[in-house]
């Protein structure tokens, strides 16, 4: 699995296009943070979409996956290597962005905010990481069977469907609430990372949903066929 993680990091951080995109996101986040405006660490969370989109499907269409799987590598090893690779590259990005913000706010003394302490920044990064890990699991699941970056569309559709007005019927409303709470659970990570409610029901639902997406990804991927031509 470690080879898959290394490859993912190399793919993302060895590509000028990805570096430019991630660098731009980090600079925009730093600018808004230093100016004291906007949602905290909202912009950097776009990076998970950049890093995770098409993570499996691109390897399928290029034929790279077929070459990898001709080796003694389990499909799950590849798949979870991709997932850990996404998390590693996102974690690295968050660490670099947090460091950049710290430097700009403290060393350059640009409009220092109260929440720019190392602990606050670490908590914000942790919150962004947890949200990113969840979205990455959904993207990975869609990427195992959708082509190109259609996994982004799948993620969007999932969010839209689970946030549709449920109608007037009470049971429909209850069902929609239950689906939303269990498939897209909201966790107050800032509090949870401080130790408040870390073992609460919201965190439990989050862990359960994340596991469901990853297991679904593994099941779909292990059954999927990998053609690269119909000759």
């Amino acid at each position: 699995m470690i080879e898959m993680v290394r490859r993912y990091l190399r793919q993302k951080y060895g590509s000028p296009g990805f570096l430019i995109a991630l660098g731009t996101l980090a600079l925009i986040e730093t600018f808004f943070f230093a100016m004291g405006s906007g949602e905290r660490f909202a912009i950097v969370q776009v990076a998970i979409l950049v890093l995770a989109a098409g993570s499996v499907s691109r390897d399928v269409s290029s034929g790279a996956l077929q070459m990898i799987l001709s080796r003694p590598i389990r499909r799950t090893e590849y798949l979870f290597g991709r997932y850990v690779g996404i998390l590693a590259s996102y974690g690295l990005f968050l660490a670099v962005t947090s460091g950049l913000i710290f430097l700009v706010v403290h060393l350059a003394k640009v409009n220092a905010r109260e929440d720019a302490s190392p602990l606050s920044l670490a908590l914000l990064a942790g919150e962004a990481f947890a949200n990113g890990a969840f979205q990455a699991a959904i993207l990975l699941m869609f990427s195992t069977f959708l082509p190109g970056i259609a996994d982004l569309l799948g993620l969007l559709v999932l969010y839209v469907v689970l946030h549709l007005p449920p109608g007037k019927s009470a049971w429909l409303r209850d069902a929609a609430d239950a689906a939303r709470e269990n498939l897209l659970p909201q966790v107050s990570w800032n509090e949870a990372l401080r130790g408040d409610g870390i073992l609460g029901s919201a965190t439990g639902r989050w862990v359960f949903a994340l596991t469901v997406y990853l297991v679904l990804a593994a099941v779909i991927f292990s059954r999927r066929e990998l053609p690269y031509g119909q000759d």
Binding site: R10, G14, G63, M67, L69
Partner: protein
């Protein structure tokens, strides 16, 4: 070693644009044998190769390698595979690509650098090219580096899909040498190629696949050879006399407009008998050879 029994594969669903890629294909490949898959474009050769590698699951039938499914990890640990098109991370330097595959193949990390350089040397890839990203590689260079990774750790099983495609004549010869080397050390090889002359030079047997069906199997080497064609080239003026001389010896020659006669021969001795018959009839022989003549096999079936 490889057993394919009644394998069928269809692409497409619900009746729309359904393509029967393979239709009840059965064949066996013996240990140490080199099998060529030949047939026109779209015949199902790559689909068969994908099934043999376990990338596709047959709708019907079964494939086993030494009694195990083709995607069994113990089978894959002994497998080398070169796809027709090398699709990989374009920003990755060639050396890193080879090192990645060396490690995936179970090679020791400490030996990666030396093995990568040795592999590059084996396929005639210059050392400086290893530092360059794959995006800057020509088609021929991609084929060479693809072959290099396929040959890591001397695999017992080699699946090669158009290995010499896009390479220059030197590259074609180099690919042939590497295949013959693998064959000499006892590897079992399945080769899919349109380069019939190369197939003829390295394969022990060929199977002809057409519209997803295995329509013909010919053994090219040894006492069991089923397909040997004699070819002699004589002056155009002597064509009729040469035809008559060969017919008297029991051969069944057919003439082409360029002064050549082709006829089935059972062995090298029979070929020698044909040449002697022409010499006794005082017909000059410009060229004579016995080969499988796969082109002729193709020509009656729509060509490559």
């Amino acid at each position: 070693m490889i057993a394919v029994q009644g394998v069928s594969k269809t692409f497409g669903h619900f009746g729309a644009r359904r393509v029967q890629a393979l239709d009840a294909v059965s064949l066996g490949v013996r240990r140490g044998e080199t099998l060529g898959l030949i047939g026109p474009n779209g015949a199902g050769k790559t689909t068969l190769l994908s099934c043999l590698l376990g990338f596709l699951r047959p709708d019907r039938g079964a494939i086993t390698v030494d009694g195990k499914p083709p995607d069994d990890l113990s089978v894959r640990a002994r497998t080398g595979y070169l796809p027709e098109r090398l699709g990989f991370d374009r920003d990755l330097p060639g050396g890193a690509f080879l090192a990645f595959h060396w490690r995936l193949a179970g090679g020791a990390r400490s030996r990666a650098k030396a093995e990568v350089e040795a592999a590059a040397d084996r396929v005639g890839l210059e050392r400086p090219a290893l530092a360059r990203p794959l995006r800057g590689y020509s088609r021929g260079m991609l084929q060479r580096i693809g072959l290099a990774q396929a040959l890591f750790r001397d695999p017992e099983l080699l699946f090669l899909d158009e290995p010499a495609s896009g390479t220059d004549p030197r590259g074609v010869a180099l690919v042939r040498e590497r295949i013959l080397e693998a064959k000499a050390r006892g590897a079992t090889i399945v080769l899919n190629s349109h380069q019939l002359a190369e197939v003829e030079k390295v394969c022990d047997r060929v199977v002809f696949i057409e519209s997803g069906r295995l329509t013909q199997s010919e053994t090219l080497r040894g006492d069991q050879a089923t397909r040997r064609r004699g070819l002699v080239r004589v002056p155009a003026a002597g064509l009729a006399a040469a035809t008559a001389a060969l017919s008297r010896e029991g051969f069944e020659p057919t003439a082409d407009p360029y002064g050549s006669l082709r006829f089935p021969v059972g062995s090298d001795d029979e070929m020698a008998r044909a040449i002697r018959a022409l010499a006794l009839a005082e017909i000059p022989v410009y060229e004579a050879k016995a080969s499988a003549d796969l082109e002729e096999l193709f020509s009656g079936r729509g060509g490559p």
